[in-house]
Symmetry: C2
Subunit: 218 residues, 2 copies
DNA sequence: ACCCGGTGTTACTTACGGTAACACCGAGTC
DNA sequence: GACTCGGTGTTACCGTAAGTAACACCGGGT
């Protein structure tokens, strides 16, 4: 098991794996998250068992596929978050980066948000509580944690700062996600307007807005 | 086809439908969203074709099931939103109501958020764009729209108020959802702390928080 | 006596995830 | 040169679950 040989084999396997992932990517982009293993294998010019040898099961393949895209998106978001500008500009840039991404490739986005569709696993006994709470798309969790870390590093939030940063990280990511999802479906306004509206929300405009005439107030 | 007879038949059918829904509810609560149509039929003491006669397909059954729970949850939320108290208290009460609901019955919650698992429909040709944007759980959309309406009715947000209210409605709901999902999975703090943290976020504490020493600022 | 709509059944088809068993092939070894 | 060995590939199969005929029973109206 000397290093060079192992590397040789691994490089071959890794190249193959990348090819398979690219084929899977094409199929998922074309047919959506319901793409069958047969279809993916056909696209790659091979048959099912090979896919299973490489990825274990459908969940494994989808996880590998999702991680590629998740990593790419997170890199973009980090860049926007780290840009040299004032706080509000950075928040807006990050929101806009996310929205631009899901706008540009909605299929990828949809796949990332619903990767757990298949794979109930035949021998499913156990875990009666069926992973409540962990069901969210890994992308959302990762984005939430990432943002939480940035917030905690840079903001002085007092003694309970760490907990608060995580609450905010996940909350802001969820806000971005849900608003983006709705916006993508209905296109009720321009991207810039959406970004501005969300930033206003985060900047506390909800708290200071005046009551409307005639109502009991909000 | 006189009215009384029709009503007679309909009432019988409706009662049956409710019974079936309750059986389905028990199974879904016990086995999660992967419950098979066979299992549901067995729980109801009948066989599959009857389910299909009543609900069309699995998606139909799940939609009917989801609507019951969604309606119930929305009623609670409306009550919290309409309570006579100042704005911040009401926001906190609404957040707390939602979190209490998902905490009390996580299985229901999980089911509501992922109702579209099955039903790719065999004759799936067409809709190549596969409903991007509409994939979200109907519950999230309904909550977003509902909140948007309340905001728009009660707050004076200037000329673009309507659009802004919808952006905020969906954004806030998404924030609540993602934070609640994360919280339910990790239980990093008490419910009250979470509520307080999210309300602080909505009240603009992000904007006014001080930079941490040593960093370039957020 | 006869039909008819509603409720129910059994038995089937189709599709898909996943697996077992076998075939080929190139590289290193005696 | 025959021989094993790991990797790549195949065909053929199993189990499960959605969805669909086709048939059976039963009560009431004509």
């Amino acid at each position: 098991m000397d290093t060079t040989q192992r590397t040789e084999q691994q490089r071959s396997a890794d190249r193959r794996r990348r090819e398979l992932l690219e084929a899977a990517d094409r199929v998922v982009l074309r047919e959506g998250p319901h793409a069958s293993m047969n279809a993916i294998a056909a696209e790659a010019g091979i048959t099912k068992p090979i896919l299973y040898r490489h990825f274990g099961d459908k969940g494994g393949l989808y996880a590998a596929l999702a991680q590629r895209h998740t990593d790419a998106l997170l890199d973009s978001l980090r860049a926007a978050l780290d840009a040299p500008a004032e706080r509000r500009r950075r928040v807006e840039a990050t929101l806009d980066t996310y929205l631009a991404a899901i706008e540009a490739r909605p299929q990828v986005y949809r796949f990332l948000m619903h990767p757990a569709e298949g794979a109930p696993a035949p021998g499913d006994q156990g875990e009666q509580g069926f992973d409540v709470g962990k069901h969210s798309a890994p992308l959302l969790r990762r984005m939430g944690e990432e943002l939480a870390q940035v917030i905690e590093e840079r903001l002085d939030l007092g003694p309970a700062g760490q907990r608060l940063a995580r609450v905010w990280g996940h909350g802001i990511v969820g806000m971005m996600h849900a608003a983006g999802d709705w916006w993508l479906g209905e296109r009720p306004c321009s991207r810039a307007e959406l970004v501005h509206g969300l930033a206003d929300l985060l900047w506390g405009r909800l708290a200071v807005a005046g009551d409307r005439a005639g109502g009991p107030g909000f």
